[in-house]
Symmetry: C2
Subunit: 715 residues, 2 copies
Amino acid sequence: MALVRAVTGCAFGNEHRMTLDGFLHPRSVAVVGVGRREGGVGRAIFDNLLAGGFGGSVFPINPSAGEIAGHPCFADVASLPETPDLVVVALPAGDVSAVVDACGSRGVPACIVISAGFKETGPAGAALERDMAERAKRQGVRLLGPNCLGLLAPHAHLNASFAVTMPPPGAMAVLSQSGALGSAILDWAQSRGRGLSAFVSLGNRADVSESDLLEAFDADPATKVVAGYLESIVDGPRFVSVASEVTPRMPVVLLKAGGSDAGARAVSSHTGSLAGSDAAYDAAFRAAGVIRADTMEDLFALAEAFARQPVPQGPGVAILTNAGGPAVLATDACEHAGVHLASLEKTTIDALRAALPPNSALYNPIDVLGDADAGRFRDAARILAQDPGVRSLLVLLTPQVQAQAVETARALAEVAASSGVTTLGCYMGEDSVEDGRRELLANDIPAYRYPESAVSALAGMERYREVRDRPRTSPPAVEADREAVRAILDAAKAAREAFVTEERAAAVARAYGIPTPRATLARNLAAARTAADEIGYPVALKIASPDILHKSDIGGIVLGITDPEELARAWESVLDRAQRRMPEAQIWGAVLQEMVKPGREVIVGINRDPTFGPLLMFGLGGIFVEVLKDVTFSLCPVSARDAAEMIAGIRSYGLLRGARGQAPADLDAVADVIVRVSALAADFPEILELDINPLIVADRGSGAVAADIRIGIGG
Amino acid sequence: MALVRAVTGCAFGNEHRMTLDGFLHPRSVAVVGVGRREGGVGRAIFDNLLAGGFGGSVFPINPSAGEIAGHPCFADVASLPETPDLVVVALPAGDVSAVVDACGSRGVPACIVISAGFKETGPAGAALERDMAERAKRQGVRLLGPNCLGLLAPHAHLNASFAVTMPPPGAMAVLSQSGALGSAILDWAQSRGRGLSAFVSLGNRADVSESDLLEAFDADPATKVVAGYLESIVDGPRFVSVASEVTPRMPVVLLKAGGSDAGARAVSSHTGSLAGSDAAYDAAFRAAGVIRADTMEDLFALAEAFARQPVPQGPGVAILTNAGGPAVLATDACEHAGVHLASLEKTTIDALRAALPPNSALYNPIDVLGDADAGRFRDAARILAQDPGVRSLLVLLTPQVQAQAVETARALAEVAASSGVTTLGCYMGEDSVEDGRRELLANDIPAYRYPESAVSALAGMERYREVRDRPRTSPPAVEADREAVRAILDAAKAAREAFVTEERAAAVARAYGIPTPRATLARNLAAARTAADEIGYPVALKIASPDILHKSDIGGIVLGITDPEELARAWESVLDRAQRRMPEAQIWGAVLQEMVKPGREVIVGINRDPTFGPLLMFGLGGIFVEVLKDVTFSLCPVSARDAAEMIAGIRSYGLLRGARGQAPADLDAVADVIVRVSALAADFPEILELDINPLIVADRGSGAVAADIRIGIGG
């Protein structure tokens, strides 16, 4: 019976797993832990539910009260007259699991645990949280929290939180891992009249995660943009996969804090030492098309722009101003953020000249002068909006005697509505333009105080347009001898090796089609001579022994052997020395290896990020990595297009493209190696780190060779 | 008579040249161009003067009115009953010069020209402005404007502007080159209750400049901090000299816009191509100790901090918060801005543990939890302020149910006042914490909305502390053979050469003690042999002829000659070839030159900035300059300490300090060359550009040699 119930619960839960309907569109809500007197979290939530005007049934649960605020009280979930879609729990941590069980028994699909006292308090709390989460899962109850503020769904007039603010219904869904920042966001939304479709405080995320919410918001017709604050991500790969699905349809703007949390993790590879967790988050957000906000202010600026205006249909902003100074600031900010000013057509300039007073500046930025009234702003905006090169309009207004902040806002709204050109307003100053800013907002034109914030928002919109419109490329299928790699890694794991030996690392690379120097194991001098002839002089000779790891320490390597005579001398000295120094060692002979011709040296590496898995790094070798840290990162798997972007993304790209009269390097060959390394890392999770350093790159058309490969394994 | 009056006027004017007392502390003010009816700029200014409550005499001037607003009207300046200290002119541009003349005749020391229609309208207006400025100067009248908003001096209740806002008296002086941004700043000050000591709209700066104002503000006991907006600087060297005097006594925060204005200027040197005017402004502000704001918002954030709180006595901030999220954001921002979190003493931690509830975070950041009231904030702040490592306190408050934003502000003010620890407040949210923010401001604690703004302000304060406390180093006297250089440059100028020949450039360098490869002119092969023996093989041989500029084009250079035999062959081939190719050329023989041993290659260059004069550039040579643009700039003259900072300031500094097991380069030798190049540029303004590229630097203790020097001259 218990089994049957669990299975049923699961089925029900899975249905809701997609939509989280129980949270966002409940028909009835029960609150557990509602005190008879005001004060106390449970009572506050119950009062908020009533005050919010929620249309469905609301049940207070308190075993010792008959009635609360005119609503009949119930002793527990079991004794409710109907099964609520949502149960909110505000009891001491120790009492929550029993309520979750009761929800499961009753078939309640969704439960919010407001209570603190779980993982955030230490190991005992963490155990309690795990137990609660397992019970919920087993019984098909989706669980938000614990240790959260609750949620609001303004379209349903649902305030299932202990926040007293209730923003108007709107198109923006907000999620926050921090309750406190959540309340600051709510306060901002409320004060700005910013409508929300949902506000969800994630808390400890024992069950419902940011990825679940993204799916739910995506399925919610009211939501057009998602904004959020996160300090970490629960399941990196799932997040990337879900967000990649969502972002082509709606912008997702996230502020991710805590850039330095992974600093303490011990790392031994180059790639690992350069890849803080922030590089992984950057790479993940880029891969998923998520727009990353740099600061809280930036989050608001971006969210406002996305919520209120259409994404510009292309690059090209016209700056319209009633003063020169702000236009200079805006132009500087555009240059800095990579936002291109539109070049106006001649007909536009002529029309502006006819419409504006003589001293106006007609070339972008367009200065309609300090005595401009709303009509002059309207005329200029209309003309600009008709220019095919103007895809967005940034209007700057400073408080001057003749300025009409409110009327100008209305005029701009008119032009924006009729033209469809993305329009952002920046009214500089405080009290004297505050009414004007409110009028802009009332007309769904985002209103900024500073040109830099407005430009930052516009830059975010343009970034989003690029992300949304980029062709979806899948990583190519890489032909590889996976069995060979499996055998090598298994053998290394069986031998408890942390690193694969050099020859085997080269064999792994070759199995994935990554060029390595030609090499042959020779068991005696005669075989070595034949091998050297085949490879072609100059060659290198390296002792081959399973017992000798650090070959150069015992003189086991000779480089640059130019003829058979030198080869003979090298063979004798290397083999002699090895036998003398390590008489116990099993010696297989020596490896004859091609000497790679000098070329530009780059590094391609893999580091495994704890959240997102394999993270691929690319950079120029040597000092560029060690001193300048001039590298780019990408999540795996990497497509050829991603690889090309990584290569072009380093500061020293000019050296590869061919600066100072040098021929361009074979970048296609580099991109190919990157794609193959990515496939290798994706196929074999036990590869914890990998450095190809250097990959020696010849001129265009002549390939690249992995001269040194290091592979660290585990797991 | 006219002459005598002019001289008297000048003397009077010079007295005011320092203090600008006529502007900031006038005893009487006349306004020229006051209309009988309201509306119109002159009338607005007159009404503002009256409304502001100015205590001295106020005279309206209008030839056709008997009385305006109850004040008897005068026909012109000449007919005033007393000589006013300040005359404000709001007449059409063409009528202003006559008023300036009248002011001169009457001995008026200060005149504000509000009128537009001058330089900003084109060449005719510029001529008008020049004429007006010359008249003013000749007659000893200081002139503010034209094309400006006017000025306010709140301590004197003086509003001599057409801005209607009048902020309370305070310690901050504001200057703005843009009237519109000026009005936004005034509006901000008014709305925030930000007291000002002065507000000055600079306009076209026909006479009074930002440097004049800095001097005046420095002399004004009411002013403790200067904030301003500039798009350019009138006299760069004077600005640097004045600001350097002012900034040790009070912080000067400037927003400089228009970073890309010099893009069009043609440049031919490496240094010139890398030094946009923004590099010069950065270098100038750094040299002068001016704190540069990046954005308008940053300007406000910094100005507020400086105006309201003492500069921290050292590094070490404690972050006190009622929520984790904001603390994470603040910590990220601190890391990013280089602001160090204080390490708390054990006694502090113990005291915090005793005072705070169990789950509080006791290590910096200190989280007093979401239910913290004002008393808990006070207790924690008191304990933190006693820790000797805590020099500043950043208090973050989010709107939570139990938060007491206003009471907390009072509690913090109490602790700040009694401890003297620099205290900044960041209340996140809008309406629900706005009262709290106002209470912070009322208690002279700067109040921010976002942790990032607060941290940016703190970072600016710490930067100022470093600037203020840095030892004043003067550039050392460089011993040099100035006559030799004078002769070379004069000869080159006489010959109308744009560039000094290679040998002469080397001679210039040697005259300033900059090591160059040893070189000797040999008139025949025998002399060449002797010279090569003296220099030591390998040597280079270069044709010497005043008629051959591009030596390598005609095969006039042979490098790496290793013995006398090769030398003979080289001599023959070079001299032969030159005579065959250029039979008319006068040939002196050939220069035998030392081949410099390979070393690390750096570039030291000079470019002459139109505003600030010689700008010195340092960077690693080759790709680091050409591809990575990894260079630092400094104004001349450069001290040894400045030079060391320039060297350490490049990203690739690790390569010079000795990365990858390399020995450190001889950085003292590089610094010495930088100082000598700086002295050379300062001594000879006709040197427009100079590149030492490369300066070949040997390992520590072994010197540096200027292998190639290019000197461009003019003027």
